[in-house]
Symmetry: C2
Subunit: 209 residues, 2 copies
DNA sequence: CGTTATTTTAAACGCCTGTTTAAACTGAGT
DNA sequence: ACTCAGTTTAAACAGGCGTTTAAAATAACG
């Protein structure tokens, strides 16, 4: 395993767990068992390392997501919102084959990126991977054409918030839930729960002004 | 204005904007125009200052929220979920009379507390203010008794996530939305949008196993 | 083998962090 | 006016941070 990948793996794990601000390069390099200076040698800076960690996932996810949504948009028959959101599951869960805990790590990172570092990650994702968002908007619009652009805007961000926030605290939540209900729960189980929730939220009746 | 309050005000503003980890005591004391050592003198430590900032809001909010929800629970007539969530609005918006930008500051702080500092704020709130949560659960149960405890658990956390996450990035979102749709948007407007969303989410049909 | 490139290493850099210290100041109460 | 508790102050503390340096080790190639 190359030094570069050792760093990426350790950084991914620690960033997901403790946030970008909350993780130091010394923690990363000591967990990766490489020299401290290796980060700056291979990536240039901590900020570039963060981008690299996210890019590794996005480059894996974004084409799968695009094609999954493309199928939906191209289909002739009408679409339900549950179908649209379900189109996200398979690509997201496929991250687990690509890497252990891939799905939950990625979603946790996404959550961190929204709140840590004053939104620079949001900028990074929307400018570097704009197709993911626009495809998704198109699919939702097909499933629920009555939504005005403004309502769509808010509901998509609410959805983003629900998923990302849930996942960024999913470890703690799963712990509590497993204790309360005496059953094993995994990330796929949480996703199964969240889909009807967000689908119903987006499909909520339009409130009159 | 006392030194203690000057510190609390500055800390609240900065914590909401940049997170707990992202704000240093030096930033706080220089914005408050007090000596650096004043924080440790009056509050003991940074962690205690965080608690104090949150407690100031919770002590204002929690009794209002409790009585608002109590009215709902005591009422004889059936309850809708929109009513339950609406019962949150008035107490939350009343924070704006108590303090400028009170509502949005408080909700942003709540969002920070979930992701920063590895969930110690969640522990603090659930142990110090348990009635707020249990009253809310009771009200939702009355409005939608078919929900199993497990589904209830997840949907309430999804809702918490939606609201808290939205509010913690509300400044950025409002900026984008005002630009896209050419109209002034305030925090109350966002709340008006989010209520039908979360109400529909919680009320989503129960998914069969 | 000898000579480049590339990578790894230990050490240091300057800066920032939360916290502590001890001295200076402030405003009653006697 | 003097005392004494409460408060504010400047200075320092030890430790962590991201980054840089220059030397050492390793790999690649003619």
């Amino acid at each position: 395993m190359s030094t570069k990948n050792k760093i990426l793996d350790a950084a991914e794990y620690l960033f997901a767990d403790k946030g970008f601000n909350g993780t130091s390069l010394r923690e990363i390099t000591s967990q990766a068992e490489v020299n401290l200076a290796a980060v700056n040698y291979h990536f240039g800076s901590k900020k570039e390392l963060i981008k690299a960690v996210m890019s590794r996932y996005m480059n894996e996810l974004s084409p799968r997501l695009e094609s999954s949504l493309q199928v939906l948009c191209d289909s002739e028959q009408p679409l339900t919102l549950v179908e649209v959101f379900s189109a996200f599951i398979e690509p997201l869960l496929s991250l687990n084959e690509y890497k252990e805990n891939g799905t939950s790590n990625f979603l946790q990172l996404l959550g961190r990126g929204y709140t840590d570092s004053q939104g620079f990650l949001r900028w990074f994702l929307t400018t570097q991977y704009p197709n993911v968002i626009s495809n998704f908007v198109a699919a939702v619009q097909k499933a629920y054409p009555e939504l005005t652009p403004e309502e769509m805007f808010w509901r998509l961000h609410f959805t983003m918030g629900t998923v990302v926030f849930t996942m960024s605290s999913s470890d703690a939540l799963i712990d509590i839930a497993e204790n309360d209900f005496n059953k094993k729960i995994d990330i796929a189980g949480v996703i199964r729960q969240v889909i009807p929730y967000v689908a119903a939220g987006v499909a909520a009746p339009i409130s009159l002004p």
